[in-house]
């Protein structure tokens, strides 16, 4: 039975880690994810779990150790943020290409510089093409739920890919909120035991992990990796359905909030989606038909489903909590319009970069965006297609 509790996002993930009790967890502390290995270490010291915790000397080493442990046949995970993830970058690719179902809990924080500890998605987005499945959470509850679902997705025979479960640094990681926690037994049952088919510590079936691949074979390996990413779509949906059936909550690729008859939809990820939903309710009360599409799964990118969900509205605000420095908007500004165009959905799109390095995103900001979309459609207001919201001044002074 579910238990009502209150805890921060970091506490919620640590609680889930205790319940899953993975075999190995190498980690190196970095704000704002430090509490996760800290709390896990406490659980281990108190005898509440028996994960092999490896205090490594850097994130480069934590992911290397996770790669080694997972290849050996152990269920492995780690936690990090920001520059810690950047420092793992090389090993992220090694983990994914060796098809190692490692789970990484990422507490999103901006990348330097200026040096800053607060939230944006530049760390996760920087790793978007490393071959990891990426799932983003709106709140502590989803951070908890997504972590539990990560293992059955990653370890499924059709997938064999690592999964990054993300939550917003400080905004959810350090905010105490209500949460429903599930019984240890139910969580363990849901996640199941890990029985890898091929692993290094199996003398009966020797395998090589990470050998050199000549050009004659390398491209096929990459093709198969992409094929696994495509297959992960059905597995993510199955696991979400099983989670809903067992625990009564959750979404597949995204949540459609009041989108069915919406003229204007905001596509957004993470904690700001909650704020956007409140703004949508406020505007609905005033008669404006608006909705929020909260993207939960960013990798694999659910292009067809997004295009279908946005096919009937008049305009979409695509919200990026990350700058790509490409002169043409953030990561979602590239991927969402491509998804629309390739599925022959020709709706108006405005891309807003928001919330960088912890810049606050309020209901007023969200409401202003919905109103601007209406202005664009109804009054042909000219706006930059890729713009910023929440700057101190228009010139960014």
């Amino acid at each position: 039975m579910s238990k009502k509790d209150r805890m921060s996002g970091n506490e919620a993930v640590a609680y889930a880690i205790r319940q899953v009790n993975p075999d190995v967890m190498p980690a190196f502390p970095i704000t704002p994810s430090t509490e996760i290995p800290q709390l896990v270490s406490t659980y281990i010291a108190n005898g509440e779990m028996d994960t092999e915790f490896i205090p490594v000397e850097s994130e480069h080493s934590s992911m290397s150790a996770a790669v080694g442990a997972e290849a050996a046949g152990a269920r492995s995970m780690t936690a990090t943020s920001s520059c810690g993830l950047a420092f793992m970058w090389e090993e992220l690719l090694v983990a994914a290409s060796n098809r190692l179902p490692i789970v990484l809990t990422l507490v999103n924080r901006t990348l330097s510089g200026p040096i800053n500890i607060n939230c944006d998605h530049s760390d996760g987005m920087g790793a978007r093409d490393t071959g990891w499945i990426q799932i983003y959470a709106e709140n502590n509850q989803e951070a908890y739920d997504n972590y539990i679902q990560a293992f059955p997705i990653a370890e499924d025979k059709r997938v064999h890919l690592p999964v990054m479960v993300c939550q917003d640094g400080f905004i959810t990681s350090h905010a105490v909120q209500n949460i429903l926690l599930e019984d240890d037994k139910d969580v363990k049952e849901f996640v199941g035991e890990y029985h890898p088919e091929e692993f290094l510590l199996n003398p009966g079936k020797p395998v090589a992990v990470g050998p050199y691949a000549v050009s004659n074979y390398s491209m096929e390996a990459k093709y198969n990796q992409e094929a696994a990413m495509i297959r992960s779509r059905e597995v993510i949906k199955e696991v979400a359905a099983r989670f809903r059936e067992k625990f009564g909550r959750g979404f597949d690729f995204f949540e459609e909030y009041r989108c069915e008859d919406a003229d204007y939809i905001m596509l957004i990820m993470g904690s700001a989606a909650g704020t956007a939903k409140q703004a949508a309710d406020d505007l609905r009360d005033k008669g404006m038909k608006v909705g929020v599409l909260k993207l939960r799964v960013f990798r694999p990118f659910p292009a067809e489903e997004i295009a279908a969900a946005l096919s009937k509205c008049k305009a979409v605000a695509v919200m990026d909590r990350c700058e790509s420095y490409n002169g043409h908007g953030g990561p979602l500004a590239s991927e969402v319009p491509a998804a629309l165009f390739m599925n022959k959905v020709y709706t108006e799109v405005v891309n807003y970069v928001y919330g960088l390095a912890g810049r606050d995103f309020t209901t007023e900001t969200a409401a202003g965006i919905f109103e601007e979309l209406e202005d664009v459609v109804e009054n042909k207001k000219q706006v930059r297609q890729c713009t910023y919201v929440g700057l101190r001044s228009k010139e960014g002074q």
């Binding site: 209150r6 500890i117 400080f170 909120q177 909650g274 704020t275 939903k277």
Partner: protein
């Protein structure tokens, strides 16, 4: 003030426990069945620097994750902040502010940028030193926040806080009674201001 959908902003200095007080308030309100949110604003952390923490307490699920700009209640844990931080910024006209000071509300009001709403003062230093022998302002300020905001009944608050302290101070039970006294003394000290 609608006691079932209330936004509180805490102003303190790093190390004084304003963040802890906000988290304790979320904790104790949760026990009455409320939806709660308690979170600090993080910046370059250093002892003595101004910090802000926030609470939302509601009878409905809380989805907003922004800071609080138009609070119903402001709690100032350190009086010296009145000279450097605009503590009444956005504070609702029918809202309230509580300040840790040995001055009276009338003496403090001129420092509040023309705020016309309710002003309460609590001498948390005196209460804390009398009850605990040391200066920990967060217990008195937490009690004051509950007394002024009415987020929960006093008796429920006292009962839940005892449980909470018994858990928190399991290894130094000698401070439990002192902290409980700081809470009840604060309620008593505020009685005349609250017209109880």
């Amino acid at each position: 003030m609608n006691s079932k959908n209330i936004e509180i902003r805490w102003h303190g200095r790093g190390g004084q426990g304003a963040k802890t007080a906000a988290l304790l308030l979320a904790d104790v309100c949760f026990k009455t069945g409320a939806y709660v949110q308690g979170f600090p604003e993080y910046g370059p952390e250093r002892m003595g620097a101004p910090i802000t923490a926030f609470n939302r307490i509601s009878d409905r699920e809380i989805r907003v994750h922004s800071n609080i700009y138009t609070p119903d209640l402001v709690v100032v844990v350190d009086e010296t902040l009145l000279h450097s931080v605009d503590v009444t910024s956005g504070l609702k006209e029918d809202g309230a502010i509580i300040i840790n000071t040995d001055k009276t509300p009338d003496e403090i009001r001129p420092l509040l940028n023309g705020f016309l709403g309710r002003v309460y003062t609590v001498d948390a230093r005196k209460i804390s030193v009398d009850a605990l022998g040391k200066y920990f302002p967060n217990s008195p300020m937490l009690a004051a926040a509950v007394a002024v905001s009415n987020v929960m009944e006093k008796d429920d608050f006292i009962r839940e806080m005892r449980t909470s302290y018994e858990h928190k101070f399991a290894k130094k039970p000698e401070v439990i009674d002192g902290n409980m006294k700081a809470l009840t003394d604060t309620f008593e000290a505020l009685e005349s201001q609250l017209g109880m």
